[in-house]
């Protein structure tokens, strides 16, 4: 059991080369804030990047920031805020949901997990803002991709290739992101008392108008008290966020109110409360209950997800709320993650991706945490992994398909046939 704590990129490379020479797989961690997502990694040794820190370049007028991969996200966000800027993709903080402290996480982890938040609808995710990377592949080679400019089509975009790779392709040492001005102000319009179906219609209407709604979420009645210290308690809340310059925000809120005048009771929520609400939705606070009850993060086409949730509720008790106009469903179940049923319903209602972001270790070891891929795509992904990490020394098993192993059998869980079929 060795833990490497490199403070320079060259030391990261040395550690990976050591692991290669020893044929000793590494678990790659930053702060470990998202360590409970994915399959438990099967590695005896740890490569801890939390000492590889420092913002190496920040030019606000060029809208660009570079940092060592282990730099705390909180430190970078504070630095951006001091200059009126931000990561427009609003990276979420998984800490509270996973029973960890809030405010942890590194900038490398932001990219490796392809984080985003409610503004994903308008501004995209980490993948849409990464400009360049340096990394050490599982071959022990230090390589770079991209650069520090926004417009760049020179060679394959391996920077995007790192997004959502959960440390299984290469160890990031440096990242360069596009940053953007933070909005001068924001206001949220809440429609109160809608059922899921009417909320979906209202959100589609709002997103299809020229008011430039930057976030759209729906909290059903049973969850509306769980954000912003209960400020929305009592009725369901369908939330539409408008951001920008003061006069523009006021004008667009009026536009929305006209558009939605027959939708239900409309509340205007001013800047500070609006920010608090969206931060809590971003971090999935409604399910940050200190338990390990299964939580799914499901991405589908927005308009019909409420039908998927309804169909699921015919089968079992489930709590759900919606972000991204309904395109992101956060789903909490009682004990069994019901992976089969959830993914079957996702498929039935148009397809998409379901990730089991919270579950106890036994379930995570037994079930495909990430959406199983069809054969040719799974084969292509496996070939890509092999090109970056032929010896399988980086985070082995974290994203990989589940095999029927002894540990699964001894844990007393059983896999259904379709579960293993989808991941072949």
């Amino acid at each position: 059991m060795t833990t490497f704590t490199p403070t320079a990129s060259e030391e990261v490379q040395s550690a990976v080369q050591w692991a290669l020479a020893e044929d000793a797989p590494l678990e790659i961690v930053g702060h470990g804030s998202k360590r409970a997502i994915g399959h438990p990694v099967q590695a005896a040794h740890t490569l801890d990047l939390s000492g590889l820190t420092g913002v190496t370049l920040y030019e606000p007028e060029e809208l660009v920031l570079s940092a060592k991969a282990g730099t705390p996200l909180a430190e970078i966000e504070a630095m951006l805020a001091a200059r009126g800027q931000q990561f427009a993709f609003e990276p979420m903080d998984y800490g509270p949901l996973l029973g960890q402290p809030a405010g942890r996480g590194t900038i490398g982890g932001v990219l490796a997990a392809n984080l985003s938040g409610p503004r994903r609808l308008k501004a995209g995710a980490a993948r849409d803002h990464i400009l360049g990377i340096s990394a050490v592949s599982g071959r022990g080679e230090a390589f770079k991709s991209g650069g520090r400019v926004v417009k760049n089509v020179t060679g394959y975009d391996l920077s995007k290739g790192m997004a959502g790779s959960w440390g299984t392709l290469a160890v990031l040492t440096d990242v360069t992101f596009k940053v953007l001005p933070a909005a001068e102000t924001e206001t949220t319009l809440a429609i109160r008392g809608l059922y899921d179906e009417d909320a979906a219609a209202a959100m589609a209407l709002a997103m299809g108008c020229s008011a430039e709604v930057s976030s759209a979420a729906h909290l059903p009645e049973n969850l509306s008290s769980t954000v912003a210290d209960g400020a929305l308690a009592g009725e369901s809340a369908t939330l539409l966020r408008i951001e920008g310059f003061g006069p523009s925000v006021a004008y667009r809120i009026e536009h929305l109110k006209q558009l939605l005048r027959n939708a239900g009771r409309l509340d205007e929520i001013a800047e500070n409360m609006s920010r608090a609400i969206w931060r809590d939705i971003r971090d999935c606070m409604p399910f940050a209950d200190g338990t390990e009850r299964p939580v799914w993060r499901i991405s589908m086409a927005p308009a019909d997800t409420h039908r998927m949730v309804l169909a699921l509720r015919m089968e079992m008790a489930a709590d759900a709320f919606y972000d991204w106009q309904g395109g992101l469903v956060w789903l909490r179940l009682e004990t069994d993650p019901e992976a089969d049923l959830v993914r079957q319903l996702v498929r039935k209602f148009g397809g998409g991706h379901a990730t089991l972001v919270r579950a106890n270790q036994a379930w995570r070891a037994a079930l495909p945490v990430f959406q199983p891929q069809p054969g040719p795509l799974a084969a292509l992904s496996a070939r890509l992994k092999n090109e970056f990490d032929p010896k399988g020394i980086l985070n082995p098993g974290r994203m990989a398909p589940v095999e029927r192993s002894a540990s699964v059998l001894t844990s007393g869980l059983t896999l259904s046939a379709s579960e293993s079929e989808g991941i072949s």
């Binding site: 060029e62 400019v149 417009k151 020179t154 995007k160 020229s210």
Partner: protein, 498 residues
């Protein structure tokens, strides 16, 4: 062709041409196979017309099954394939090879689905960029990326090149607006990436595919997001005595938290050529001209126009006009949009470059370009996507003068080296293709390039899809895959650990 080495044609493939053509006719019946020299002539080059080559045969499939069968066939028989959309590439991305099937996707020209509640369009790859906007503008929507070739270029080609346009500072590139694709791999596998949903699990192969210049797979379907048209748009035309002042104005606009819908700069030679051509009313005495377009709700646009005007004046603007009508806004743009043909009027030929630089380096790069211009004895005019640092120098030359094309190409290469030296890149939106292929080592070392080629190996291990593009030197995948593990049991005593 000025000394560009392409992969050595495979004599065996060329010898088997008749057989391959006959087999293609079985896979694509009807008029989908073109094999006479006269009919193939139209396909011999793309937008980079200095390079020409007749393909082995041209095939125009109509179904995904046909694409899959063609690629599988070629993969099994070791036949190279060059995919082509509308053929508007400015970097030779669709340049045919003598021993390669040219796979033309233009018959995939239908829009398959328009979904307003989810604000997505599903289109076949041969649909033009503008065709998507045309299909949804009746409902007030549009597709944001707008490369200047948008009337002709295909959405499949946009995915291959990660196309930009003048609005991408605010609305993103193709990569930020495509939600999903269906593609066929060289082995015939049909793979879907993403869809109408935003987040896709697994490796971001969609991100890797976008901008991969037809080397990884052939796109057979594209799902894009569409946006509601902004309520209004107005533009400012701001003239400066120097590019330094214009550059500082751009920095100050962004520093004030304003992200314009479009922000373009032209230098003196470009201003004068454009004005001479379209009479847009550009101030001829200026050395730098900015077009700043603000879009959104009327109240926001009016609010920001005032702030941008003040920033311009603070930076020494000598003229500042604000469009008072849609007609006037379009007039401001007319000169910029006609800049390329305008330069074409003052010079027999021009060569368009495409580097990106950190914006603050603009004065240094413009100065360097003037020196190079004197060194090579060729003129240069500049148009510049000022918001995102994407520079389009137009090198003026005369192809009829022996050696001048070579000189223009060397001048262009020197400009790109300069871009890389100041922290920029070789190409912002036109792609590497064959044009900038041999300059790749200016930006990447061999390890960087090898890792990119290994990605290629995961998709196309025999290097059959669009070979000779992007990478200056092809290495066999078996060789790239070899591991060189040093020593073994190395202690690495200097690594901190506990």
């Amino acid at each position: 062709m000025s000394g560009l080495a392409m992969p050595k044609p495979d004599a065996d493939t060329i010898r088997r041409r008749a057989e391959i053509v006959a087999d293609m006719r079985i896979i694509v019946p009807g008029e989908g196979v073109v094999d006479t020299v006269n009919e193939m002539r139209v396909f011999e080059s793309d937008g980079l017309t200095a390079y020409r080559q007749l393909p082995l045969v041209v095939v125009l499939p109509e179904t995904v099954a046909q694409v899959s069968r063609i690629l599988k066939y070629c993969n099994e028989r070791n036949v190279r394939v060059v995919p082509r959309g509308s053929g508007t590439s400015l970097s030779g991305g669709a340049l045919p090879l003598e021993d390669a099937v040219l796979l033309v996707m233009s018959r995939f020209n239908r829009i398959l689905e328009i979904d307003y509640p989810n604000r997505t369009v599903v289109a076949q790859p041969g649909v033009t960029n503008l065709g998507i906007t045309n299909a949804v503008e009746g409902e007030g929507f549009y597709y944001a990326p707008d490369p200047s070739s948008q009337i002709a270029c295909s959405i499949g080609g946009n995915v291959a090149e990660n196309s930009g346009g003048v609005h991408c500072l605010k609305y993103g590139l193709t990569a930020n607006n495509v939600l999903g694709i269906e593609m066929v791999l060289m082995n015939g596998d049909v793979v879907r990436l993403g869809g109408k949903h935003l987040d896709s699990e697994g490796y971001d192969l969609l991100g890797v595919m976008t901008g991969s210049e037809g080397l990884l797979g052939v796109v057979t379907e594209v799902t894009v997001r569409i946006l509601k048209k902004p309520e209004t748009a107005r533009a400012l035309l701001i003239g400066f005595p120097s590019s330094e002042q214009a550059g500082q104005c751009v920095a100050d606009i962004i520093g004030a938290g304003i992200i314009p819908g479009g922000m373009e700069m032209m230098d003196g030679p470009a201003i004068r050529a454009a004005e001479d051509f379209v009479h847009a009313g550009y101030p001829l005495e200026c050395e730098a001209l900015l077009i700043v377009e603000l879009d959104g709700p009327g109240v926001e646009v009016d609010h920001l126009i005032g702030r941008v005007e003040a920033i311009g004046n603070r930076n020494g603007a000598t003229t500042c006009r604000i469009s008072q009508s849609e007609q006037e806004r379009l007039t401001f743009w007319a000169g910029r949009k006609a800049a390329f043909p305008a330069v074409g009027r003052i010079s027999p030929d021009y060569y368009c470059m495409d580097g990106t630089i950190p914006r603050k380096e603009l004065p240094k790069v413009l100065h360097g370009m003037r020196e190079l211009s004197e060194k090579y004895g060729l003129g240069v005019a500049n148009v510049f996507h000022a918001g995102d640092g994407n520079l389009h120098p137009l090198i003026l030359y005369d192809a009829n003068i022996p050696g001048e094309l070579d000189k223009a190409e060397q001048f262009g290469a020197d400009i790109l080296r300069l871009c890389v030296r100041v922290g920029g890149v070789l190409t912002g939106e036109h792609g590497v293709g064959v044009e900038k292929r041999d300059l790749m080592p200016e930006m990447f070392n061999q390890i960087d390039l090898d890792q990119q080629m290994r990605v290629k190996c995961a998709f196309d291990p025999n290097h059959l899809l669009n070979p000779g593009k992007v990478f200056p030197q092809l290495r066999r995948c078996a060789e790239l895959g070899r591991m060189h593990i040093h020593g073994g049991k190395l202690p690495f005593p200097d690594i901190p650990r506990f």
